[in-house]
Amino acid sequence: MGETLIFEKSKRGRRACFLTKHRVEGRRLRKLIPERYLRRKALSLPQLSEPDLVRHFTRLSQENMGVDSHFYPLGSCTMKYNPKINESLAALPGFSGLHPYQDQDTIQGTLHLLYQTARLLQEISGMSKVALQPSAGAHGELTSLLMMKSFYEVKKEVRDRVLVPDSAHGTNPASSHLANFQVITVKSNNVGEIDLRDLSHKMSPRAVCLMITVPNTLGLFEREILKVSQIVHRHGGFLYLDGANLNAFLGITRPADFGVDIMHFNLHKTFSTPHGGGGPGSGPVGASDELSSYLPLPLVGKNKDGYYLDHDRPKSIGRMRSFYGNIAVILKAYCYIRTLGRESLREVSESAVLNANYLKEKLKKYYQLPFDRTCMHEFVLSAKDKKEKGVRALDIAKRLLDLGFHPPTIYFPLIVEEALMIEPTETESKETLDSFISAMIQIAREIEDEPSLVREAPHKMPVGRLDEVRAAREPKFTFFNKET
């Protein structure tokens, strides 16, 4: 049974926290501030004792799957294990208590870490310079697109188009649109890679860039990446890398080495920082020499007096957010990279690739594999053939819940019908993978023998399958019926 809403638990007069004995009210209040500035409508925040407050959120947490309790092969999202020590270290009061406008001398520890993290990312990617501000991958995309826009504006070239593969993540076209570019979709070919013909056809002097994902969202490395890069560069455009899948090739190849001019990282994916139920993330941008002067303000610089925030970068596109980025995420990524170090970063990717291929091989006998090739860190199955039995990818996902697994990403990438996108990550053991395989096989059997069991799943969760259509048709977003 679900937990009631916190508002439904509220009772006038309860309190979970007291700050002071004295209240600023009435005349005393109006002596400080004129009445017209004051709130009229009383607040209706929930009133609970601290024990009930704690029980509420504790119980809610228990109605939630996380990596710490469940295998979570949510493709494209890299739900790997998040090292605990990094949580503890990032929470040190020396870091968490800093004000962003403090004197430079009092923030050297943090600036050092920011500077060094940028350097590590530069070496990992081969990019010339990295800016850490963007708050997530999509934010990094927008930053990059605005940088390229500025670049061509300075060069006085009119370029108003962005090429995006049909397999790309939705943020790619969305960011392009936000940067006021026209989105041109490039097709995938029958082996799941970019169709070079279509690319050649669509690439033009009006195109700012191709936004590529490597490995792409099918989990496939673009084998013709050098040709892709040639085509793009030949037209004076940039090769932009959506770095969400960096987990696949750390220390094996570097974006700069296969022609990338500019890219974003997803620290919360590749570098193992918690996803926090949807964020915060961090989406640093790395750029080539040519583009790096356009990186957003400020960057961390270093001179004889120590580290400083460099605002003096005239070509910069300007600020992309207030202050300097999602610092805790950055610090955790730093800790992670240092813990792996030179020797072992590559092993992360090797193991991620091993795990994905192992799952793929074991599952392809039971589920359709649209592109039967060696995959990188993830792969995509299709449930298209299960439709005969009235079962869809969604049903399989729900049934997995009953068996104790978070489901893969479904219905993405769009180019695979009834897609199930599986990313095991390198932190999962063979035993866990094997138990997932068993579950998937069981479901495949159930689809044959008792499809309604799958169709009506989940059966063992706090709620049954939720009516998403109703949610959209009769939208209710708050406990208070203020919306009408």
């Binding site: 979970a16 409508k41 050098l226 959209a472």
Partner: protein, 452 residues
Amino acid sequence: MAIPYIPHTREDRREMLKEIGVKSVEELLEPIPQKVRLTRYLDIPPQISEIELAHLMRKLSQENAGTDEYTCFLGGGAYDHFVPGVVDHLASRSEFYTSYTPYQPEASQGILQVFYEYQSLICNLFQMEVSNASLYDGATALAEAIVMAHGITQRKKVLVARTVHPEFREVITTYTKAIGMHLIEIGYKDGVTDLQELEDNIDDETSCVVIQSPNFLGYMEDVRELEKITHRFGSLYVVCVDPVSLGLITPPGEFNADIAVAEGQALGNPIYFGGECLGIFTTKREFLRKMPGRLIGETSDKQGRRGFVLTLQTREQHIRRERATSNICTNQALNTLRAAIYLSCLSEEGLREVAGLCLENSHYLMERVKKIPGFSLPFSSSFFKEFVVKCPRPPKEINKILLENEIIGGLDLGRFYPELNNSLLFCTTERRTKKEIDELIVILEDVKWARP
């Protein structure tokens, strides 16, 4: 040293490779062209152990000196408000922080309900009709608001008060330049937006008017007068507020704001060098489908049990792609969770207490500082927890002296407002005590003669 985060033994690897039918992982990397392969180690430092890492990070954290050690009078958009102990404890439940966007609602009722509660709390606090489940920070929320206003009005001109946070103004400049919007800044008078200047600039080309109240300088804008002017021209009224102030101060819904945004850090998040932000974004129901960001809605299962789901996803990038209302995907969910716990923990009375203490502290400091010879108050408008002080010496020097006394002084305004280059913006949250303020005053009284 092997890696604590990778479970594979040699045996595991061998078995798995065998099942795959290859001899080595190397074979699996075959799709990566040889030409682009790295043939050396990355040039990064060697692996360190947890014990070494912990030592290093502790040392670096000690090279900082922040609000945990010093008394802080610095505000300007990031605040050291008190965070009740329960917030840390509950937000560090790993079922919350090691999950991701709740695409599978049946496995995510916990976090979905938290978001729903968050939306409800924010709607109530702001008196607005809808709230999304967070954007990156206050600045990007403001930028998204302007983009959204553009989408609604199809107008290109934006009037932005100069009393809006300078960094927020920089961000909206970056965001809106791309879509060819035209930003005009409206100056201030006595610390608040110059109504006449606004009237002079507004017209029916104006997409929206953007203000902040309490504004960056701490003063209360005349939000009702501004509303009248704005709506007279069919422009949208975009307002940025301090959520903590709403414990006492008029919420944007009460003065007919069309879009109200805020930086939510102060609601239960550590100050963290400005790095634990959360963009609060609210609007009217009529603009629902133009809104950026994730929305959680109530629904039910077949048995009629209530549940929560991501809804109106057709606005979002993963469905609508280039026609989405925004590109946001990963947001600031964990900070949202903290805000929800914070507001539920404080409740209405607690928030009133926080706001009341801020107000009292700032006015006590103001009364004391204005009596110190050499210091003066350039503006006489009403303020909340921040206000401007004109100083007898360069602010930089004063702050240096304060720092030697383990006080983090006010914000040197010259950085953002050249005309206020001899002024400090002082901030007092509820955490400041009378004793701390008195200690500040004692030093300021001597500051004229002190060595820098």
